[in-house]
Symmetry: C2
Subunit: 418 residues, 2 copies
């Protein structure tokens, strides 16, 4: 097994070749897409070994996430081709100033350098992350999970063949061969070798990054998303939005976890909500939502009494915490205290409430009369995403190609002194 340090050094050393060969990036992406298809048998064979080894150890949902099929590999290759045609951020002049002294100052978008990503289970992240990094001009270090190791290794072999087909060094995509905690820790401490670390995984991984990373790190993903139903909300639309935000895919970070309802409409709205999310779903053969109610909501509808932590939990399940608030200000204050800064929504027909909510709720995505489920690179028109940032520095919300660039100032003159 090659050491993580050696892989970091090799990838770092390969970076200038990519910087000097910008015009070859799209050709490399096309070659990678071809190779994913031509190496499909190897990838599927490696994936079968992963799936066999995981059977019995993981549940069906996890096994499904892990499993590759010819269709899924075709989807990966198609995803690579779609990234290839996106606008290239590298080298874009963000601002140009000519100063009175004749200096020409160009604030220019440039790649971050080496982007490392720590991720879990789904092998398609391997090709997604690699091509997003390459398209934006970065080298990449991939450190996937143990359960998908053979699949990831086979996908990386195909990517390396594609890079070589395009005359680029395969070391531009570094693959960490050690799936222990130690290799993740090493990436977190690789000052000077890693320019950005993106942890994509559970809350534990993200907390470890926040606490011990010495390299720049983007907090991603944790979403305790709120929907607040104002007194003036359209209640029919509110029911649709809430059911969608909670149940269309409960395991994802932009799913709703907390519902706040204005006290004036609670007596009318909560019974309808209860019917919609429990009896009606059961009647439709769908999983009902467990409601965890604060005392005021529990006085109106049946449900589980909310415990201490229910308003601070990312359930990722068919569970919804429900509370009653006295005003939009109270809803904003609650969200300020309990939100993870991912996505929060107000449902209202009152412009003043909407304006206050969008101004004062300090989250990556703030919605008016829309489901929180739209926080996504594709839905935002970015074409793709590397993850969803819940921090404020550098990137917020879905991280597309632009967010994988920094900038530098290039200043040209003719002997100017100060």
């Amino acid at each position: 097994m090659r050491s993580t340090h050696d892989i970091l050094l090799e990838t770092r050393a390969a970076l200038p070749t990519l910087t000097a060969s910008r015009e070859r990036k799209n050709a490399a992406l096309a070659a990678i897409a071809d190779r994913l298809l031509s190496e499909q048998d190897d990838i599927l064979a490696a994936n079968r070994e992963d799936v066999e080894a995981s059977r019995g150890r993981y549940g069906e949902v996890m096994l499904d996430r892990l499993t590759l099929t010819p269709e899924r590999i075709a989807g990966m290759a198609q995803g690579v081709r779609e990234v290839a045609v996106l606008p290239d951020p590298e080298g874009k002049v963000l601002r140009r100033v000519e100063r009175p002294n004749g200096l020409v100052i160009e604030k220019t978008s440039v790649p971050l350098g080496v982007v490392a990503i720590i991720y879990e289970s789904r092998p398609n992240v391997t090709s997604d992350a690699a091509v997003l990094a390459l398209k934006s001009g970065n080298a990449v270090i991939l450190r996937g999970g143990r359960e998908a190791f053979r699949s990831n290794a086979a996908i990386v072999r195909a990517i390396h063949l594609g890079l070589e087909d395009a005359g680029l060094p395969s070391a531009l995509v570094g693959f960490v061969e050690d799936t222990d905690h130690a290799s993740a820790e090493e990436l977190m401490k690789a000052v000077g070798l890693v320019d950005l670390l993106i942890p994509r995984g559970g809350a534990g991984l993200i907390r470890r990054c926040t606490e011990s990373a010495k390299v720049p790190c983007i907090q991603t993903g944790t979403g305790i998303c709120h929907i607040y139903v104002d007194a003036s909300a359209d209640l029919d639309k509110a029911l649709n939005i809430i059911e969608n935000a909670k149940t269309s895919r409960p395991s994802v970070c932009n799913a709703e976890e907390v519902l706040l309802v204005h006290k004036d409409i609670a007596p009318v709205f909560l019974p309808r909500l209860h019917a919609r999310l429990t009896e009606e779903r059961q009647a439709r053969g769908m999983i009902p939502v467990e409601l965890r109610l604060d005392p005021r909501a529990a006085a109106i509808i049946p449900g589980t009494p909310a415990g201490d932590k229910d308003f601070d939990t990312e359930f990722l399940d068919y569970i919804l915490a429900v509370g009653i608030v006295d005003s939009t200000d109270d809803a904003i204050a609650h969200i300020g205290k309990h939100s993870t800064g991912h996505s929060d929504a107000i449902l209202t027909r009152d412009d003043e409430s909407a304006a206050k909510f969008t101004a004062l709720v300090d989250s990556a995505a703030v919605y008016v009369n829309v489901s929180t489920r739209f926080t996504d690179g594709g839905e935002f028109g970015l074409g793709c995403e590397m993850g969803i940032s819940t921090q404020k520095l550098h990137a917020r919300g879905p991280m597309g190609l632009e967010e994988l660039n920094t900038y530098k100032y290039i200043i040209r003159g003719d002997g100017q002194t100060r």
Copy 2:
């Protein structure tokens, strides 16, 4: 003395008032400028105490940085008025997308929240930092040095009066009353209370922030700036630029510390450089520059042999490390290894060398035929700066008002679900 924690809580609690009163920001800045002038006697009296207490303990340069005069206070007030008229980043729509499903997505510039700054000696930083933060919509926590404590406190009193004159809470500008290490450490760990920490001070402070800060932190200031003289350089201009970059203000971060010379012109250029920076400066009554030479340079001109650390030292003095390189590629490789990523320059008449240098040197500011001394918010046309970032995430180079904002996505719809 009030606890730093209480001050942090108060400033955090005041922030929504500022967010809700954007239109009053410029009035507050005008009132602060007025109050700096009307409270001038108090500020000068407090400053005299600081200067008296420091006499004998600090050198003349430091005492001069500490000392306020009516002219300097007028300059502070004028600086506040100049910030007031700069374009306001807050609320600017950076990108607007209408999606096919009818969603209107606005990527909107918003303040970071609470910006904390740790700084030393010069009391005018107190008003500069406070008004830059306020103008960009942020509350601010100021933690100045012990030697300027009374001056800073008096300036903050004037700022508080100005805020109150404009009907804004004085807690928007929090002033840390404890100048011990402990209060700096507390700011570094104030997760949830501080959105951005900017250390402005010596390398020790910045290292402590990088190593132990739990809040987002911008690395500022350390500048081991290089100038590379290519074989094709205009040697007369090169001499002007090098003397300017090294000697116009040796104590600042954008001053040159290392000179690299192409081997082909070294035999002609180095003797001229030696004459210009030593004998000629002495003849003009100016401080000569000590040259620390690598072995190949030492074979051509007299000087101090460079020691192990001389190519990795921010001298901030009339000292210049001089080395010979074989090519532009070698110069780029040397800079990649030794630069702090602040400002680096190539002097050349060859377009290919210039293009290679600007593409591959990974620094905040990359210059072609210009002195590195121009890396500055004012010189870049930003109007002002909070510090100069040498990191790649979020902000790079001079941090003006835009860099004190983050963004959020505001999404408006009419009941859309996914």
